[in-house]
């Protein structure tokens, strides 16, 4: 099939893939045709609505199998799984450049060590949680999170080495590019991930917990219970004053084995390794922050220029599927009232706290109702968006069978 793009017009297409991101940004060339930028292509296995292969097929048609840039914002399943599942499709496409966060750079020994450690811990945590059989809300949330971080090797291999002719670049905050990948008139300013020691320290997972000793090379030691002293006594041997009640003993044992916090913090660390790309093209300023969460945002929002930059944004991809801590209040408040439109790729499965309703309301107010969320598109068997205001789409937006388009009006 041929492209449906209109010469001279910018278009952002957000595919509904489930819980995941897949955005195609098409920038018009002078005269005929478009440059194509794919921002992420992934879905969480627990929030898959079965459309990702069709999305890849569609974007192949739309682009004539040519992608000037692929941005893989960070190494989470819900952002890269499509590159593994549709590896053969991508391998056949012509790709100009691949952009990955510096944390994926195989030549960056510090980043490699951190990533290995994170992954090793996630593997160990997966085993641990499976063994405990805990089905509490927190444990289930942690399990889904761990799923998201694992098994992305195939996708990353394709992106790093499997696309013939593609130039792979590892980016970090502070990089400004003019006309990257030969796209005339495009200016890209990379705002995340930050490359300072404080940030890297936050990436570093808590170490040396029970069951979870990951060596410097990333290998996990066997379950390494330490017996600090040879002789321990049973409770019966202790005077009443010096022993805990059996309930207290049990509570303490449970607490000492609750490792889900580690999963939460590693997940946050990975999200914070997201590439945050601020793109200027023509009159449009598009902000693609991946899944940046608090730590990533904080590093550039403190910059005195950030206020002005934010006020110029005309298109905002809402970070991390609209979760609570992925869009600081000052980001929404920093957008010019009615000056920006928003797209949220989200759904309530697998985490029912996502998207955060007050955030959606704030976005609605700030954009003068010019925003869409992907799960408002009805797909058989997929969870519907609760409480979505029904009605005609705002000017510039259009709906397809499993995507939303946005083209600036005028």
């Amino acid at each position: 099939m041929a492209t449906t793009l209109i010469d001279g017009k910018i278009r952002v297409r957000m595919y509904r893939v489930g819980f995941g991101d897949c955005f195609l940004l098409s920038l018009p060339k002078p005269g005929k045709g478009h440059w194509q930028i794919l921002v992420d292509c992934g879905v969480h296995s627990a929030g898959d609505v079965g459309t990702i292969a069709k999305a890849v097929e569609n974007l192949r048609d739309e682009t004539g199998s040519r992608l000037d840039v692929i941005i893989a914002t960070h190494a989470h399943q819900d952002h890269v799984a499509g590159f593994a599942r549709c590896a053969t499709d991508f391998a056949k496409m012509s790709v100009g450049e691949v952009w990955l966060p510096f944390t994926e750079d195989p030549a960056d020994t510090q980043a490699v060590a951190l990533r290995k450690k994170q992954l090793a811990l996630m593997e160990a945590l997966a085993l641990h949680l499976a063994a405990t059989g805990d089905t509490g809300e927190k444990a289930l949330a942690a399990k889904a999170m761990i799923e998201n971080a694992r098994d992305n090797g195939t996708a990353l291999r394709l992106l790093k080495t499997g696309l013939p002719g593609a130039r792979v670049r590892y980016l970090s905050a502070g990089l400004d590019m003019e006309g990257p990948a030969g796209i005339e008139g495009l200016k890209v300013s990379i705002k995340g991930p930050p490359r300072d020691q404080a940030f890297l320290a936050r990436m570093d997972p808590p170490k040396s917990d029970r069951y979870l000793a990951a060596g410097a090379d990333g290998a996990i030691g066997a379950q390494n219970g330490v017996r600090p002293f040879p002789a321990g006594l049973p409770r019966e041997a202790m005077p009443a004053m010096l022993r805990l009640s059996p309930e207290e003993e049990a509570a303490l044992r449970k607490q000492s084995e609750d490792l889900s916090m580690i999963a939460f913090s590693i997940d946050q660390a990975l999200n914070n390794s997201s590439i945050v790309a601020l793109m200027n093209f023509g009159h449009e300023v598009l902000l693609f922050p991946g899944d940046a969460q608090y730590g990533n945002w904080a590093s550039w929002l403190d910059d005195p220029n950030a206020v002005e930059l934010l006020s110029q944004v005309t298109f905002f991809k809402v970070a991390h599927h609209g979760s609570h801590n992925a869009t600081p209040r000052r980001v929404i408040e920093g957008l010019t009232q009615g000056g920006a439109v928003g797209m949220v790729s989200t759904q309530v499965k697998p985490w029912k706290s996502i998207p955060r309703i007050p955030l959606m309301e704030a976005l609605d107010a700030r954009t003068d109702h010019r925003w869409v969320r992907s799960d408002a598109l009805i797909i058989a068997g997929a969870p519907d968006a609760p409480n979505v205001p029904q009605g005609p789409l705002a000017p510039g937006f259009a709906a397809g069978p499993f995507w939303y388009d946005y083209s600036p009006v005028g």
Partner: protein
């Protein structure tokens, strides 16, 4: 007290007792050995110190009936207990306690007891009254009710924390990763053997006993305050142990705030022998061994390494980082006063031709400098701890802490020849910590005011008992009766004087805590006051626009009231429950808190109270 020696056969046991009683008086102190830093520093640098603790009878554990400290050595990861140490055993007594050893759990139990007891002693001394641990609800039949339980080997985790609900300190142990030269890979690291960590966690427990509502995360400052205060107390203790100071003084030419030590032999080139290996000044590092294994705590050297600026306070919200601004302010002032107090000594030394940079200081001079450093550290510790009683009962802000410090110190030490208060004010000002509703950084402006500005003559209460010694002696029903009557008296007074005390009309008043405080001024005269926390609270929705019923939080206000000996209100330090401003700030903070938490991404409405366990893990 120790068991009397087995009596000679000719005597009856009773006679033997009487003889023993006649011959020996109860000791004043109990000396116990500890690591001044942590085991990684071995025997160098005055790392092994003896703490002379106020004497109390101890049963095995140790468990102290007076201090209410109970060391309960349960290990959750291995599901067992370790045999308790008996500090009254003659072989232990004869050597100032069990000798320092990583391998002996008895020493671990002794060390946690000693450091907890020492920290508690410092609080009681500075506050001028006995200090209590938080009293948890229920647990009436618990034999350890009212005690702080200390678990030196609670579990295998690179973590140590205070749990306000269980009123317990937990110390973890973990295998080292061995990435540096101080620890072997796989060697077990015990957080309970790090002086800093034990003092830090104990301070959490003590502050929680004095101001129980400070553990509610109601603002960025409140959250950071607990951490900062615990670091301040822990670090000042480094400077209060003379043995630990000497080496650093010798090797920095008296500049104890330098982060790097000079090598004693050659100033240039890498050191070659073990005695010279330690280049980092251990005094300004916090929890070295633990810190290296965890990699998440900011040492004082980092806080001091940052040029003071008024910017960070507007940007840093992570509790440790924000707290380190406060820590740096206090230490800035401490070092400034130390320099002021030792300038004459250094001038004399230079006049006598001593080269202070060579790292070979005359031992007499080092001794004198150490004495000044210790004295100043003790002063600063007293100043900071004493200020707690002058803090509002809830929602502490750094600026209010500054005002509390200045007021409390001026109350006790009216003249201030060494300029302690000015040094503190300057250090806070440089870091942009500004108290609200104060129009200058002058001492006068910063002091809390008597409530006369609200209502002419301060109200006066009749019938408070100022005699703490009498109250200590009361027991059982008489004690309870007097406590209850005092509470009723205070309640009636507060209810009648809401406007003057700054309490909200209507809302219920809770008399949360009340103590007589006795302090000795430098001029030798005792000063008696009475400090009371009045608390008011109500439920407020997180989102006022949300339709009812919506989630709510406890919003609190109230006043700390200090009565003089004559019963007149000297200060009423208020946080108004009915201030719209405060409520709005709290809401904004709740929102921020949710945004920062890794948990809140995936778990809706996870609004747990302050969790020291998570803060300390650096999650």
């Amino acid at each position: 007290m120790s068991e009397p020696k087995k009596p000679a056969p000719a005597q009856t046991i009773e006679q033997g007792d009487r003889l023993a009683m006649a011959a020996y008086r109860q000791p004043q102190t109990r000396p116990l050995q500890v690591f001044a830093f942590d085991p990684s520093l071995g025997r160098v640098l005055g790392n092994q110190a003896v703490l002379n603790l106020p004497y109390e009878e101890l049963s095995p554990g140790p468990v102290g009936a007076k201090s209410r400290i109970a060391v309960v050595d349960y290990d959750a990861s291995n599901g067992c207990y370790y045999p308790p140490v008996d500090l009254n055993n003659p072989s232990v007594l004869i050597g100032s306690g069990v000798p320092p050893s990583e391998a002996d759990p008895h020493f671990h139990q002794q060390m946690v007891y000693a450091v907890v007891r020492e920290t508690q002693r410092r609080f009681a001394y500075a506050l001028g009254r006995p200090v209590h641990w938080r009293r948890p609800e229920g647990r009436a039949e618990d034999p350890l009710r009212g005690y702080l339980r200390v678990m030196p080997h609670a579990f295998q985790q690179a973590n140590a924390f205070y749990d306000p609900e269980r009123v317990a300190l937990f110390f973890g142990y973990f295998p080292s990763e061995g990435v540096n030269t101080d620890t072997l890979p796989g060697q077990t690291i015990f957080t309970c053997l790090s002086y800093d960590i034990v003092a830090h966690e104990t301070t959490h427990a003590l502050v929680d006993g004095v101001r129980s509502h400070f553990s509610e995360p109601t603002s960025a400052d409140t959250l950071a305050f607990h951490e900062a205060f615990a670091d301040i107390v822990a670090l000042l203790q480094h400077f209060a142990i003379k043995d630990a100071l000497m080496e650093t003084i010798k090797r920095t030419g008296g500049l104890i705030y330098e982060t790097v030590l000079q090598s004693g032999v050659s100033a240039k080139g890498k050191p070659r022998i073990t005695a010279q290996l330690t280049e980092q000044n251990p005094l300004v590092g916090l929890a070295k061994q633990f810190g290296e294994a965890m990699g998440s705590r900011r040492a004082l050297r980092e806080a001091l390494g940052t040029e003071p600026n008024s910017d960070d306070i507007l940007k840093e919200f992570e509790p440790h980082r924000r707290g380190s601004i406060l820590v740096a302010a206090i230490f800035d002032a401490y070092f400034s006063v130390y320099v002021r107090r030792t300038r004459d000594l250094l001038r004399l030394a230079r006049a006598a031709g001593q080269d202070l940079n060579a790292g070979d200081m005359h031992p007499d001079l080092a001794e004198r400098l150490a004495r000044e450093a210790v004295k100043t550290a003790n002063h600063f510790q007293n100043i900071c701890i004493r200020a707690l009683d002058y803090c509002p009962p809830v929602d502490i802000q750094f600026g209010e802490f500054l005002r509390a410090i200045i007021t409390a110190d001026a109350d006790i030490v009216p003249d201030d020849p060494w300029g302690y208060r000015q040094a503190i004010i300057d250090a806070f000002r440089l870091r942009g910590i500004r108290p609200g509703d104060v129009n200058s950084y002058s001492e006068e402006a910063l002091r809390w005011r008597a409530p006369t500005h609200r209502a002419g003559v301060p109200a006066r209460i009749e019938g408070l008992h100022f005699d703490i010694f009498r109250q200590e002696r009361l027991t059982g029903a008489a004690f309870t009766k007097e406590r209850r009557e005092t509470a009723q008296l205070l309640h009636a007074f507060a209810d009648a004087n809401r406007a003057q005390l700054g309490l909200a009309p209507e809302a219920k008043i809770q008399v949360y805590s009340y103590h007589a405080i006795w302090r000795i001024r430098p001029d030798g005269l005792p000063e008696a006051d009475y400090v009371v926390e009045f608390i008011q609270s109500r439920d407020e929705p997180y989102d006022p626009a949300a339709p009812a019923p919506s989630a709510t939080f406890k919003h609190r206000g109230g006043a700390t009231v200090i009565f003089g000996r004559d019963g007149a209100v000297r200060y009423s330090i208020t946080k108004r429950l009915d201030s719209a401003d405060r409520l709005e700030r709290r809401r904004a903070f709740e929102d921020e808190l949710g945004q920062r938490s890794a948990l809140s991404t995936f778990l809706p409405d996870d609004r747990a109270p302050m969790n020291f366990s998570v803060i300390h893990r650096g999650c």
